[in-house]
Subunit: 208 residues, 2 copies
DNA sequence: CTCGTATGGATAGTATAGCTTGCCACTATA
DNA sequence: TATAGTGGCAAGCTATACTATCCATACGAG
């Protein structure tokens, strides 16, 4: 397979593919001459992964590069996947006062205890949650956090399914990729389904 | 309150505040002289909302402007909130073949039927879900969709809580803002909690 | 063999977003 | 009355994600 076919197969323009190669998102093809290379189904697949992470996952090119590096690194363990998800993936932060942080941490610990979670208090995920809780508070919609336990329950529900599904993949190198895909695209899926569920819940409540 | 205090109170730099005013994200202060204006607690609050939507929600400046316009528009009804959430908010799309679309629609309809949902098949939310499902398929991780029903259940769980909580706000103008805040920040909260739950689930499965 | 198109590789250019800087006349404050 | 702050406007800046242009070479139909 050559460049033109790779482009057709993946729906990505040739100059863009070249750009991704330069950025290290796509490995070079096998050179048959100084200016001819062959590509394989692996390239098509990788290209589709890149596009999915960029368009659906909303990752930056740099973020995709980090994620792919972890996927390709044979020393990435099953347990590291979590660290990965906390690292290259987009997690907004908000600077926050000590008071707000303490308040948020307390709420998080309460909710975690309820679910039997034992989170490390200094992980970036906790930081992200602190940021979100403080944002809710700062904009004056603290009431929304009454449902924090419920949100945690929903997260638990899908996370259990995610982890067991990934574990079922076997010990191949696909497990890390599966975890990444599940994490990134899963976020988008959950968000979209939540919108749909909003519409249905509102219909039931107001229209009935 | 003058510019400097507004800046201190909100943690946003003065030039940035001016920029937001130019972009229509923040109403002008009440002019007391040609070059002096007074700001109120409303401005602080609005500014914090803008920052939350930008940093936590990941909206663009243009997206924030649309959302704020809807919040400020007195003709925005409770029911329109859903349309709003589907409109100004970031929802990635992926171009998709007819085959893939048909396959995705079938899966969506199955899952929707299971939950008693009756979604309009041409809404942008459905489009977004189609995109995500096709992305899963295109990158070769269709297995992740075994949990689609579970994702829908989780979405239902939080959406019910969201809608009833918003409905409890009463018929003030805060209801629309509440819905927006809940939708946008709620996405971030759910995503972060899911990361946390992943870590816990993996700990239970692998480390125990 | 040949001629038009495709290719790999490199460099440079573009468009957009989200600020940031500079400037000005003017105003509050000490 | 000196100093710092202000509203308003225009221009500039940085980063991101592509696009476009070149070039020497290679492939492939005739």
């Amino acid at each position: 397979m050559r460049m033109a076919e790779l482009s057709r197969e993946s729906g990505v323009a040739v100059p863009t593919i070249k750009y991704y190669q330069r950025e290290g998102l796509l490995p070079p093809g096998e050179l048959t001459s100084p200016n001819q290379a062959r590509y394989t189904a692996t390239h098509v697949r990788r290209l589709r992964l890149v596009r999915a992470l960029l368009e659906i996952g909303g990752l930056s090119v740099a973020g995709v590069r980090e994620v792919l590096a972890a996927i390709d690194d044979p020393t990435t363990s099953t347990h590291d996947i979590l660290g990965l998800a906390q690292h290259g993936l987009p997690m907004a932060k908000l600077e926050v006062s000590d008071d707000d942080r303490a308040w948020a941490m307390e709420r998080i610990e309460t909710a975690a205890a309820e679910r039997g979670w034992q989170p490390h208090p200094e992980s970036p995920v906790i930081e992200a949650i602190v940021g979100v809780l403080c944002a809710f508070r700062q904009v004056g919609h603290e009431w929304a956090l009454d449902a924090l336990d419920l949100y945690a329950e929903a997260a638990d529900l899908v996370a259990d399914a995610d982890v067991t599904a990934v574990a079922r993949l076997g010990r191949t190198e696909a497990i890390v990729e599966g975890a990444v895909v599940g994490t990134v695209l899963g976020d988008a899926l959950l968000a979209a389904l939540r919108r749909l569920a909003h519409a249905e819940a509102s219909r039931k409540l107001f229209q009935a």
